[in-house]
């Protein structure tokens, strides 16, 4: 077992980094801060890779390794442990989190150079990685919840990293409050689970649940849907997706790490982890699929109309996570996790590349003010192109094709899938190709509108190149069945997850579907080229018409969800609080407060300093108590 005993070090190293930076950060030179920030994550990543290789070559018995550090406390048989659980699912998540984080940390050493909050930035980032690793490695839901809230906190801190600007603080607050809705649902779900199982140990729950609940049981429904609430908030899915586009107020590496690659997929992880619950509650699973499909469409349409390069990426993230939810909803657990991994690579890459562009353009976010950067920043351009290709799922050569295609196939072919779900995904794929390449063409082609201000250095280029290569080749570990029998990823996943059930007569249609989606992706690229580069007039003319302007605005505002919530939630609350200025609920508390004041006065009166009164009180108390004990 040897190397597995070091499992605890994987989260401990980032924590150590955080502690060092938090305590001594202000007194250290920036170089040392960068080294500590990166090295702690880098070592964790290295350790993960070593443990991962060990895991693949000689898997432990039962395909999991559990390391219990200590039991927090033990009361009434409820004893949450500080314990880590490594199985293929958490291994993949740990690998992606540590590896991508390492690259992003490395990138940040350059990106954040000269910022006065340099030590703070790396301290938060390390704390985030620690929390995220706690989340994915936790063997019980309480520890998972600790990580869950930890990443939420770091997200809040990092969105508002440049806190001197009011807007950023609002964005941070919005992210915190919106996700709080979900978290509240989730903690109620946890209470429900504790009540039913008297444990929060994930594996115990998963093994006990089928014997406790029939498929479709009401309690299972509630448990599943409450946990789903948490997942929706964290993963920015309908109806709690509104915080993510605003979260782009944070520094770009933060967007890459937290709001694209890792934290926002925590919801996917939670559902995949608790998959037994969802199989016991088919209704909820269907809801997951529908929410995924709806989200990917809405976010796809919204991305079409954005001008801010980071907002395009933000909507595309929502949309891609929608795909993962779709996969979860049709029971394709492995496909969801595969798409998570690939998405982490290419979306991290896209954000980092966008960050390099933004850095070069002196904090300019509007891509219509960029243009023609292809020649000036070749490395950034090519890697961005790879990432975009993967995002748009360009057939055969990009990794995104393999992962997204699998999801689309299962959306149709799974017993839980349907034509309508597939159609949504299919339209979404088309939209993805359009907005992705719109972004590529507008930013990197055409005439140059602004000078390059700061050339990317090696610590920016190398992470980009590594992620770029991964965005191309990482898909080859999961070749579609129709092409050959090489799928190590899903065979690894299927050791601990149920395999997707295919409906009868669907096996042969995979190739056909692949051809259709491939064509639609290429068609999307073509359309983007046509309307953004070749003849933008057409689009421009359309936008000036009344309908066009409305659609543009509607999409730009993300289907007006903010406005909707403003009307149905914020305004009523504000209105209520206005008419209830002298809060009647407050009266009760005020009464309690006044009672306290009164009691305080009385009690203070008794504390008058006269010994004779004290002794009287003592004797009186004794008399009363003796009466009680003898006569009651």
């Amino acid at each position: 077992m040897g190397i597995y005993h070091l499992l605890w070090l994987i989260p401990a190293l980032p924590l150590l980094g955080f502690l060092i930076l938090a305590i001594f950060g202000l007194k250290m030179p920036n170089r040392a801060i960068g080294i500590i920030g990166c090295a702690s994550i880098g070592l964790a990543a290295l350790l993960t890779i070593i443990i991962g290789i060990n895991f693949l070559t000689s898997p432990p018995t039962g395909n999991f390794y559990q390391q219990t550090l200590w039991t927090w406390f033990s009361v009434h048989g409820f004893s949450p442990a500080i314990s880590f659980y490594l199985d293929p699912v958490s291994l993949i998540f740990t690998f992606v989190v540590t590896f991508v984080s390492f690259l992003i940390h490395w990138y940040s050493t350059e990106y954040m150079r000269g910022d006065e909050g340099y030590p703070r930035f790396f301290a938060y980032m390390n704390l985030f990685v620690f929390s995220m690793l706690t989340l994915v490695l936790a063997n019980n839901l309480l520890l998972l919840y600790l990580g869950w809230e930890g990443v939420g906190l770091c997200s809040f801190l990092l969105i508002g990293f440049w806190y001197k600007e009011q807007e950023n603080c609002y964005a941070a607050r919005k992210a915190f409050i919106v996700t709080r809705f979900g978290d509240t649902a989730m903690i109620i779900g946890l209470f429900l689970l504790v009540k039913n199982f008297n444990t929060l140990n994930i594996q115990d729950i998963l093994t006990k649940a089928p014997s406790l609940w029939q498929p479709g049981a009401t309690t299972a429904f509630w448990a599943a849907i409450l946990l789903l609430g948490g997942a929706l908030g964290k993963s920015a899915q309908l109806p709690l997706q509104t915080w993510l586009p605003d979260a782009m107020a944070g520094p770009t590496p933060v967007s890459a790490l937290i709001h694209a690659a890792t934290m926002v997929t925590a919801g996917v992880y939670l559902i995949a982890r608790m998959h037994v619950l969802y199989e016991l509650a088919p209704v909820v699973q269907l809801i997951v699929a529908i929410i995924g499909a709806a989200t990917l469409l809405i976010a796809g349409f919204s991305a079409l109309a954005q001008r801010d390069i980071k907002r395009v990426l933000a909507y595309s993230t929502i949309s891609q996570i929608g795909y993962m939810f779709l996969a979860l909803g049709v029971g394709a657990w492995s496909a969801a996790i595969f798409h998570f991994m690939i998405h982490a690579f290419f979306k991290g890459l896209l954000f980092l590349a966008a960050g390099a562009v933004i850095l070069a353009m002196e904090e300019e976010h509007d891509m219509f003010k960029m243009g023609g950067l292809r020649k000036k920043m070749p490395v950034v351009f090519w890697t961005f192109l790879f990432g975009s290709g993967a995002l748009a799922a360009i057939p055969i050569i990009t990794a995104g094709f393999y992962s997204k295609d699998q999801i689309l196939f299962f959306a149709l072919a799974s017993t839980k899938g349907s034509f309508w779900l597939w159609l949504c995904g299919f339209v979404g794929a088309f939209l993805t190709a359009i907005y992705t390449f719109r972004m590529v063409f507008v930013t990197f082609f055409g005439e140059q509108k602004k000078e390059v201000h700061r050339k990317p250095t090696n610590s920016i280029k190398i992470p980009l190149i590594i992620l770029g290569i991964l965005s191309l080749i990482a898909g080859f570990i999961e070749i579609p069945k129709a092409w050959g029998n090489f799928a190590p990823f899903s065979s690894l996943m299927n050791k601990v997850m149920p395999q997707v059930q295919l409906a009868a007569g669907m096996e042969n249609k995979e190739v056909l579907l692949e051809v259709i989606t491939g064509i639609i992706a290429l068609l999307g690229v073509y359309l983007a080229w046509q309307f953004c580069l070749k003849s933008p007039k057409v689009l421009y003319n359309f936008k000036t018409t009344g309908l066009g302007r409305f659609i543009d605005k509607f999409f730009f505002k993300g289907f007006m969800f903010d406005q909707l919530y403003d009307i149905i939630l914020v305004r009523p609350v504000v209105w209520l609080s206005k008419i209830d200025k002298r809060d009647f609920v407050d009266r009760i508390y005020e009464a309690i407060g006044n009672l306290g004041l009164l009691l305080n006065k009385i009690f203070s009166r008794t504390q008058n300093g006269y010994l004779r009164w004290y002794v009287c009180g003592l004797v009186l108390g004794m008399a009363v108590a003796l009466t009680i004990i003898l006569f009651v």
């Binding site: 004041l597 504390q607 002794v615 108390g621 009651v632």
Partner: protein, 460 residues
């Protein structure tokens, strides 16, 4: 019984050496090494005693590993206390050796409280704990308030000792035994004499742990005594009183047909303690006086361990002893460095001494019971012990409400330190790196106990 012997011998030794050694520093180091020695010797003892009681000196002492573990915690807290506040203790007046000697005598009493097996030993332990306190409370000879505190404490204490002796006498009359294990009240109709005895003893002990309505002396004494002494008597001695309380009531009066008689009275005492302690603390202006009231309210929580009477309550009192003592000693250590003891005196401490403010915040969090600090788990344990006991849910709800009230006056201090602008005066020269590092280690310990209570609980 290494702890008993070593504390007694060291007490006498320090008393004498105080006459011959003029250097305060040397005496302080002697005292610290004495605590360390007692600590180590107690560990050696620990191996020899198990969970079942071992009778020593014809049943005068009954030693269990719980008692020894408790002594170990107390000695650890005293070590922290000496390291943090030893200098302040040495500087109360001229008689440095005597102050430390008195502390050791008190420790001797605490050791007895954790191991007595006989009512006479209980009486002795309570008196050995109390008499040095009377002296220590009055040790600041130039301060009239200190004299007042000492005299009040002494007179009230004499009163409660009377209760205690009367109670023991009545119990002896009813049962014919002083031995807490063979007293055997269960299994036969209980007579009023025994009940009156139980209740009188309960009052005497409630007085020692400052439970309402026997708490009146507490604010005056804690406020009047030198701060460094208050720090000691409000922590170590108080939890020492609790261990005497819990052992007597669980072992001698714990059987179900006995406890139904006194449970109601003690529940009312607990409720009154919680309410009075918290409500009165809310509007205090002096932090020192606030901490005095807070010690009353914390006593209310510890009383849960007495009335719940199950395994959880034993674990809870151990945790509570450590959590409460460490946090309060830390708070007092910082308080002693302030020139102004009011809330306003803390204004802006976070700018001036960020580390002190942070550590103080951690201690206050622990006193409130914020998760991930030792105080949270301690409260959780004693309250869930009460829930497990059953029939006490109203009290638990009251306690949780009171914990919420307590957040107000604790957080007010954090508010003053962090969010109020001001120019607080601290004794800069007394804040040495050594002091800071011990303080940081104490805060770390508070957090470690909050996430890993097994550090203590694994031993029983």
């Amino acid at each position: 019984m290494n702890a008993l012997i070593s504390t007694a011998v060291f007490g006498i030794f320090l008393m004498i050496s105080g006459l011959f050694i003029k250097s305060k520093q040397a005496i302080r180091i002697l005292a610290i090494s004495g605590v360390v020695a007692a600590f180590v010797l107690n560990i050696i003892d620990f191996r020899q005693y198990g969970a079942s009681a071992t009778e020593l000196f014809h049943g005068m002492l009954s030693v269990t590993n719980f008692g020894l573990l408790f002594i170990e915690i107390i000695l650890g807290c005293v070590l922290v206390y000496f390291l943090l506040s030893g200098k302040d203790l040495a500087n109360i007046g001229h008689y440095t050796g005597e102050y430390f000697a008195l502390i050791f005598f008190i420790l001797c009493g605490v050791v007895l409280a954790a191991t007595y097996g006989n009512m006479l030993m209980l009486f002795l332990s309570i008196e050995i704990m109390s008499i040095p306190q009377y002296i220590l409370a009055g040790s600041d000879k130039h301060n009239l308030k200190s004299h007042e505190a000492s005299l009040k404490y002494f007179l009230m204490g004499a009163f409660s000792t009377g209760f205690l002796l009367m109670g023991i006498a009545l119990l002896y009359g009813a049962t014919g035994s002083f031995d807490i294990t063979t007293m055997n009240l269960a299994g036969r109709p209980i007579d009023a004499m025994a009940l009156a005895g139980i209740i009188l003893i309960a009052f005497a002990l409630a007085f020692k742990v400052s439970a309402a309505p026997f708490h009146f002396w507490t604010p005056d004494v804690y406020d009047g005594a030198p701060t460094v002494v208050t720090s000691f008597i409000s922590t170590i001695v108080k939890v020492g009183g609790f261990v005497a309380f819990i052992r007597l009531f669980h072992i001698a009066f714990g059987s179900p047909d006995v406890d139904k008689h006194w449970l109601l009275v003690l529940s009312i005492i607990t409720a009154a303690t919680l309410i009075i302690g918290n409500v009165t603390a809310v509007f205090q202006q002096s932090v020192k006086r606030m901490l005095a009231y807070s010690s009353i309210s914390q006593a209310g929580f510890m009383l849960f361990a007495v009335i719940a009477m199950n395994v959880l309550s034993w674990q809870g009192i151990l945790l509570y002893a450590a959590a409460y003592s460490l946090a309060t000693i830390g708070c007092f250590a910082i308080l002693m460095k302030m020139k102004d003891y009011t809330y306003d005196g803390y204004n802006g401490l976070a700018q001036k001494q960020p580390l002190l403010a942070l550590m103080n915040t951690i201690f206050l969090f622990s006193l409130v019971g914020i998760p991930a600090t030792a105080g949270f788990l301690a409260k959780y344990f004693v309250l869930s012990a009460a829930v497990e006991k059953g029939g006490l849910l109203w009290l638990v709800i009251l306690a949780v409400c009171c914990a919420a009230i307590s957040a107000f006056y604790y957080f007010r201090l954090i508010w003053a330190m962090y969010f109020k602008a001001g120019d607080c005066q601290v004794e800069e020269h007394a804040i040495t790196p050594a002091f800071k590092s011990v303080l940081a280690l104490t805060a770390l310990l508070v957090i470690i106990l909050g996430v890993w209570p097994g550090l203590i609980l694994a031993w029983i």
